[in-house]
């Protein structure tokens, strides 16, 4: 319907706009964009600045510039408030989830696309329907299951439930289906086994997609909060996001040490942000496919 309106509108075609009109307007749009981006980044910039200030400076809202306490704040966050441990736990968890999820999903997609499989559709639906079961829907039994398995407070509890995924299987399946048949047939004629086929044909042809899934999964795992909060009660085994909750509580004795809290928050943001900056292209390409 939008197109119809468009067609009638463009019927009275005339070149009213000249280059001179476009230029200042373009500058205005740059300004608007710059403003929007500055607004989105402002809290982060302020947090970085505040993470360098002493508590006395922080308690003066007009003191916005960089302070002299950066080293002490980050050191206190990393050692006194154990953020070094939390960051390491987050890193181990996220890398384990990335490796597990990508491996399991590649194998599943290989079976779904390149095998003659009875009930293939039913199996695919079984995988896909798990999208209806986000953590809050199964949180109580999952918590009890971890206790029964004796996994509470272990790496298994915060990785196991994340390593299989409908999204990753779906993305790899879509991608495998788009690989030209001729390549597959060549491999077939050569009598290549499934693992060789996966490693030497499929994976090299899916590099960008695999990178995209890795980035999405890393950011997703790193940012988890609710499930680690429940599954891990032993502080030294906790991840960085829940560490923020601990530090918020602990640094509140007397004057809240906001400089240290901001330092911890910046540290907890840096890894996923770095991954996004490096791999933004793969991320954008992969994420956009999910819509279909």
């Amino acid at each position: 319907m939008g197109r119809d309106t468009m067609a009638t509108d463009t019927a009275q075609s005339s070149t009213r706009t000249t280059h001179r009109d476009i230029l200042p307007e373009n500058a205005l749009m740059h300004l608007g964009l710059f403003g929007a981006i500055a607004l989105m980044a402002a809290p982060l910039v302020l947090a970085v600045l505040m993470s360098t200030q002493t508590t006395a400076e922080v308690y003066q809202p007009t003191t916005i510039g960089p302070g002299s306490n950066a080293l002490q704040n980050y050191q206190a966050a990393l050692t006194t408030y154990n953020f070094g441990t939390y960051l390491l736990n987050s890193l181990v968890m996220s890398i384990a989830v990335v490796i597990g999820k990508v491996t399991l999903s590649l194998l599943a997609a290989l079976a779904l696309v390149y095998y003659e499989l009875p009930y293939e559709r039913a199996i695919f639906m079984f995988v896909l329907l798990t999208l209806l079961l986000p953590v809050p829907v199964r949180i109580v039994p999952l918590f009890q299951l971890m206790a029964d398995l004796g996994w509470t407070n272990t790496l298994l509890a915060i990785t196991g439930p994340y390593i299989a995924s409908a999204t990753a299987v779906f993305l790899f399946r879509q991608h495998f289906r788009s690989i030209p048949d001729s390549l597959v047939e060549t491999a077939h004629v050569d009598g290549v086994g499934p693992f060789r086929f996966l490693v030497s044909v499929l994976i090299p042809m899916s590099r960008s997609m695999i990178a995209g899934v890795c980035v999405i999964t890393f950011i997703y795992s790193w940012n988890q909060f609710l499930w680690p909060l429940i599954a891990v009660t032993d502080k030294p085994s906790q991840v960085a996001q829940v560490g923020i909750r601990y530090i918020q509580g602990a640094a509140q004795a007397g004057l809240t040490q906001w400089g240290v809290i901001m330092a911890a928050a910046v540290l907890a943001l840096l890894p996923p942000l770095a991954v996004l900056l490096v791999f933004h292209r793969s991320l954008r390409e992969t994420i956009a496919i999910q819509q279909s």
Binding site: Y114, P194, L276
Partner: protein, 297 residues
């Protein structure tokens, strides 16, 4: 329907490849998912040591509880605000990015980075910057306007702050999709609209947005799910559901009922209701995208 050659024919091998995923999904998604339904019919006694069958009593309790009604109502309002706010801002930023094509790669990264922003970090940053006594933003806001920021005590203000943080965090994800959708719009359409001097708002409303409808529906569904399911850290680190019950969203209430008050049966009933919600949303998304695929809007 697929004409893909299937080079491997061992069914046993295929099942072996599928096994790890199926086992993990079965054990950690389907089993606890089904258990939720069973538990929702029980009441837990003695701190979870014993359970008693109560039938639909947990659901009756929720349906007649004013606290639950309140939590449900504010969650719906919250989702509406977050979805609308996120979409409007993302469309605005996406349109600017699309129109200003010079140097847009750097702009693009500067606009999508909140995708990587952990919700807990988003919450703690704004907790500080909007702090009623210490916040930098609060200080300048109160210096230039008669407005007083006091969200520790004001329910509506606390609700607004939680919504602002939720929107901020969700912008990156939305802008990625909106920009991708703008980029699929045929160049000739834009050229004609520019030549005809069609104004920006008109161009958006009657040319671009209708063409982007499938993306907008998809984002509406994903943002709604986000608002209901993924905003726990934001509430937890900003308001803990308060003041009063002003920000006690369903997800926060569920956590408290389960893990603070140990009402595991009641919490499971709350999970079942959330499941119904996500099921309806997914169904809408599938039906609508099927409709677009069929009629090719």
């Amino acid at each position: 329907m697929s004409t893909q050659p299937t080079p491997f024919d061992s069914t046993l091998q295929a099942l072996g490849l599928l096994l790890p995923s199926v086992v993990v999904l079965g054990a950690f998604l389907y089993y606890p998912g089904l258990e939720t339904f069973r538990l929702s019919l029980y009441r837990t006694l003695f701190l979870g040591q014993q359970t008693a069958w109560v039938g639909a009593e947990n659901f009756v309790q929720l349906l007649t509880s004013t606290a639950y009604h309140h939590s449900f109502a504010i969650s719906v309002l919250f989702a509406a605000i977050v979805v609308t706010g996120t979409l409007l801002l993302s469309i605005a930023v996406g349109y600017l990015l699309f129109t200003v094509s010079v140097g847009s790669s750097a702009y693009l990264i500067a606009a999508i980075w909140p995708y990587a922003l952990p919700p807990a970090v988003a919450a703690i940053l704004l907790n500080f910057i909007l702090h009623p006594n210490l916040g930098v933003f609060t200080h300048y806001l109160e210096a230039v306007t008669p407005f007083t920021l006091d969200w520790f005590n004001s329910g509506p203000q606390a609700f607004t702050v939680v919504a602002v943080v939720a929107i901020w965090k969700q912008l990156g994800y939305n802008i990625i999709f909106v920009v991708a959708a703008f980029n699929t719009i045929p160049k000739t359409l834009t050229e004609r609209a520019t030549l005809d001097g069609v104004g920006h708002l008109r161009r958006l409303r009657s040319v671009y947005l209708p063409l982007m409808a499938p993306t907008l529906v998809f984002l509406t569904v994903m943002n709604t799910i986000y608002a209901f399911f993924s905003t726990f850290p934001i509430v937890d680190l900003l308001t803990s559901g308060g003041p009063g019950d002003a920000t006690n969203l369903l997800i926060f209430k569920l956590y408290r009922d389960a893990f603070e008050f140990n009402s595991l049966g009641l919490a499971s009933a709350e999970s079942v209701i959330l499941f119904a919600l996500v099921a309806v949303l997914m169904y809408v998304q599938i039906r609508v995208s099927e409709g677009y695929a069929q009629y090719g809007a």
